[in-house]
């Protein structure tokens, strides 16, 4: 059975933009920010038991880290008044610290005032700036611009720039449970969780959401992307709120989580990249950042507490995988991965996607030369990872309808138990990773990269990974016939896994092995200056960059395919 790609544009599920949750949220932006700030303060006070000394400590830590960040790692997007703001925080703190007349409760009050200033500032900073006009404009630019480029490239001749023969959807294939997603988005709140390999993902997903006729999703985008004004414009237009990964202090993290949770409860469909950041190794994320994920669970419990027990209060988790033959940032991602393995904490956020020139060059290459992307949408789940039926009801493994509310019950009522919800977040994370693997689509390029790297590794068993990638590339040659038979072996195993619904394959994989290999070699990391894999003059397989080969190989990590070698 051939899977059908989505080729047509869907009707919007909510035709009037005034019904879009994200538009409603933008209208009430001011009140919403206040609400986020207030609830964040409550959470922080709750965490420190309203103890003035602990609050003082947290404030001082935050101040210290912020000053350090301003000095050591300033970004273009940072507001001009940062010095001034934190200067004021410092003097207020000193003032309260030295005021001996304050008793315990007035001291707490004084510290709380400072806390309020900080959470309000953070909420403002995080909040999205959605403007419908910008959204419409961006969407047409993306669709129109991309489509023009594509036609110019594929249909020869100058006139072709006006041809409609190819649309963006020829290039980007969308498969999977799109109808269910559309349907549930009208009934409840959707949290989409895609894999993350490239900075292009944000724009890509935004475009897909619009193709599917869904109202814009809000999502946390790395603040570094806002450094580039053109990206900032796109991001704002697409409903992005800002996540600053340099800020790791308690107050910021709690405000961020509150923002996400409140937006979900508001009914805004959201998008999390649950890996937190792009997968540096090229592997499907196996350890998810659970911070934002926990907000989905918390929002669900809050909805139940507010007696929103029907589908309108239900939150659906929809995993999505994005597959590329080529990831622009692969060289720097894998370099980072290899150099930071084990010491991520001391790693400074850098920003290699930074110049508009690089991006335009990539986009041009992408549309003119052709490199397919596929997006597969998984089955919707509840916040505990149970699949849901067409009415959004959760199903257990045997297909029996169960009530998600029951997960939060004890002694017959909803209870708040942080430790329980932490555990649920871990469970949800594991389920998402499982689904990622199931809906992942194998490309020819993944197959050849995986096989080649495993063969090289098998021939150098005594070397560990780091020695292996230091092997001189010119010494690595895999005879073609050997390579082909190994590819066949991996391919056969992939087909077995597929029969067992453990993985999917792209249509270009349904040909003879010769063709699959040729297609894979043509496509794997095709625009890198040094190609991860190619055939030499005698027809054997060689590599120009083994780290890159490792990166593309990693896409098939986690299926036990290594055991074939």
């Amino acid at each position: 059975m051939e899977e059908k790609y989505i080729k047509h544009r869907y009707e919007p599920i909510l035709p009037s933009k005034n019904e879009w949750p994200v538009v409603k949220l933008a209208r009430e932006r001011k009140e919403f920010i206040k609400q986020v700030s207030d609830k964040s303060q409550d959470r922080i006070l709750n965490l420190i038991n309203s103890n003035p000394d602990l609050l003082k400590e947290e404030l001082e830590t935050t101040l210290y880290r912020e000053k350090l960040r301003i000095k050591q790692n300033p970004w273009a997007v940072d507001p001009d008044d940062e010095q001034e703001f934190w200067g004021k925080v410092k003097s207020s703190l000193l003032h309260v610290n030295s005021d001996t007349k304050l008793n315990k409760s007035t001291r707490l009050k004084a510290y709380r005032d400072i806390l309020e200033k900080i959470t309000t500032r953070y909420s403002e900073e995080i909040a999205s700036n959605f403007k419908h006009q910008h959204y419409k404009f961006t969407r047409s630019v993306v669709t129109f611009g991309f489509a023009r480029l594509l036609n110019a490239a594929r249909v020869k001749g100058f006139r072709s720039i006006f041809s409609n023969q190819f649309t963006l959807q020829d290039k980007i294939q969308i498969t999977g449970e799109t109808d269910q997603l559309r349907d549930l988005a009208t009934k409840g709140t959707v949290v989409m969780v895609p894999t993350h390999f490239s900075n292009l993902d944000s724009i890509l997903i935004g475009w897909i959401i619009s193709v599917l006729g869904l109202p814009p999703f809000i999502y946390g985008a790395g603040l570094n992307l806002f450094n580039i004004s053109i990206f900032a414009y796109f991001m704002n237009a697409l409903g992005a709120y800002k996540v600053d990964r340099r800020k790791k202090n308690l107050m910021y993290l709690e405000t961020l989580k509150t923002y996400s949770k409140e937006a979900i409860q508001f009914g805004c469909h959201s998008l999390f990249f649950p890996g937190g950041t792009r997968s540096r190794s090229g592997m499907i994320e196996s350890k998810l950042k659970l911070g934002l994920l926990s907000t989905a669970i918390e929002a669900q419990r809050n909805n139940f507490q507010d007696e929103q027990n029907d589908i309108s209060g239900k939150i659906f988790i929809v995993p999505v995988t994005i597959n590329y033959h080529f990831v622009l940032e692969a060289p720097s991602l894998i370099r980072d991965h290899l150099s930071i393995t084990g010491q991520e904490r001391y790693y400074k956020e850098n920003d290699e996607f930074s110049t508009s020139y690089k991006i335009s060059k990539f986009l041009f290459k992408f549309f003119t030369k052709g490199s397919d992307i596929s997006v597969s949408v998984g089955r919707a789940m509840d916040v505990l990872g149970n699949y849901v039926d067409q009415d959004g009801k959760s199903l257990d493994k045997h297909g029996r309808i169960i009530d998600t509310r029951d997960y939060f019950m004890s002694n017959g009522k909803i209870t708040v138990d942080q430790q329980r919800e932490e555990e649920y977040t871990h469970m949800l994370g594991r389920r998402i990773v499982e689904e990622f693997h199931k809906i992942n689509r194998v490309f020819s390029s993944h197959l050849v990269a995986f096989t080649a790297f495993e063969l090289i590794q098998a021939k150098n068993q005594k070397l560990d990974l780091f020695d292996l990638i230091r092997l001189p590339e010119e010494e690595i040659v895999i005879p073609y016939e050997e390579f082909k038979s190994a590819c066949q072996q991996v391919y056969d195993r992939i087909l077995e896994l597929r029969a067992d619904h453990q993985i999917k394959i792209a249509p270009h994989m349904k040909r003879g092995m010769e063709q699959i290999i040729a297609h894979g070699l043509d496509n794997v990391g095709m625009y890198h200056a040094k190609r991860p894999l190619l055939r030499n003059q005698s027809g054997d397989i060689v590599t120009e960059d083994i780290s890159l080969l490792y990166f593309y190989h990693n896409r098939l990590h986690g299926y036990g395919l290594e055991k074939l070698f």
Partner: protein, 354 residues
């Protein structure tokens, strides 16, 4: 949504599933403070409990009610104690699955393993097991049912001593604090201390693996060997448990705790332990068939040895006590020979896991 809220007004009852010796003991302990309802598969056992307040000769608290209807017990109770042997565990879990809800708390007291094989395969056809094909009881519950708040009960809890009211302690392990707290609330008394542990897999494995060593301890006793030999066995046995538990996903800490070393010492000294008895009688010259034929309840250790042996085929690990016990149990190796082999085995490092 319909069934969930119904029973909140009624007084909460506690369910006990399975009424073997340990099940009966726990049911009696729970009945000191709570209303208890027990599930038994056979209707004659149910009748016996309801009319004569005893189960297969064991006296039960007269307030304990029995049923053979899984739906009834699931409706009446939010907390269930599963006290069935591992051989029947999957079946019971499947039977209960249609009536369990995510609000149920399940604590089990089974010190055995189950296997999870493709349809039509058995342990005898497979010979080799990967970790994913081998399940602890909490994993069985999570695989078969919708219950997630799952815990286990493990420790030196010989039923006979508990039923006499002798002082003892147990461990409740769960990833969920609320399960530990609920277990403590229900079971703790002046004579019974309840510890908590979040490493549920480690605690389950401690209880499971110690049965292997208990059989070996029984064998040493059956051979008439003394305390030096026992001390040697317990300490080497613990090292083996640590490595096996680690390979299966448990932490070292739990093995050193009450459920590991605590239970190991108790079982290795007790003629009341079924596993100890198996080893003892083997050393006295009986065959495994003879021993199993007249044992009232299963000795979990026998099946555990079989499963762990199959796991060792895929793991990069040696477990000399288990391997040799396997040969004694299933390949007619003489116990004396196995002992000889172990004495020659090059354990040259005393402790190699801390």
């Amino acid at each position: 949504m319909d069934m969930a809220s119904k029973n909140s007004s009624k007084i909460k009852q506690i369910g006990v599933v399975g009424i073997g010796s340990f099940g009966a003991t726990i049911a009696n302990m729970l009945a000191e403070k709570n209303q208890v309802i027990v599930y038994a598969r056979k209707s004659e056992v149910v009748d016996e409990i309801n009319s004569q307040h005893q189960a297969q000769g064991r006296t039960l608290n007269p307030l304990i009610k029995a049923t053979d209807d899984p739906e009834e017990i699931c409706e009446a109770c939010e907390v269930l104690f599963f006290m069935v042997p591992s051989s029947g565990f999957q079946e019971v879990a499947r039977k209960f699955a249609p009536f369990l809800h995510p609000y149920h708390l399940i604590i089990h007291g089974t010190k055995g393993l189950c296997i999870n094989l493709p349809f039509g395969q058995t342990l005898d056809t497979m010979k080799r097991l990967r970790r994913g094909q081998l399940l602890t009881m909490s994993e069985v519950i999570q695989q078969e049912t919708v219950a997630v708040r799952v815990g286990c009960l493990a420790g030196p809890n010989l039923s006979l001593e508990l039923s006499q009211g002798q002082p003892a302690a147990t461990v409740i392990a769960s990833k969920f604090n609320e399960v530990i707290l609920e277990g403590q609330r229900l079971l703790r008394s002046d004579r019974f201390q309840v510890y908590g542990n979040s490493d549920i897999i480690g605690v389950e494995l401690s209880g499971v693996l110690k049965n292997i060593i208990a059989i070996a301890a029984g064998a040493l006793a059956g051979l008439g060997l003394g305390e030096n030999a026992k001390g040697l066995l317990i300490s080497r046995g613990m090292v083996e448990m640590v490595h096996l538990s680690n390979a299966l996903g448990g932490s070292v800490k739990s093995v050193i705790g009450l459920a590991g070393i605590g239970d190991l010492v108790a079982t290795c000294n007790s003629e009341n332990s079924r596993n100890f008895t198996v080893g003892y009688r083997l050393a006295k010259g009986e065959t495994l068939e003879q021993i199993q034929a007249d044992m009232e309840e299963v000795a979990e250790g026998i099946n555990t040895v079989k499963i762990i042996k199959a796991f060792l085929e895929t793991a990069d690990l040696r477990a000399p006590i288990t391997e040799n016990l396997y040969r004694v149990l299933f390949e007619d190796l003489e116990i004396e020979e196995a002992l000889q082999f172990l004495m020659k085995y090059p354990f040259n490092v005393d402790v190699n896991f801390v």
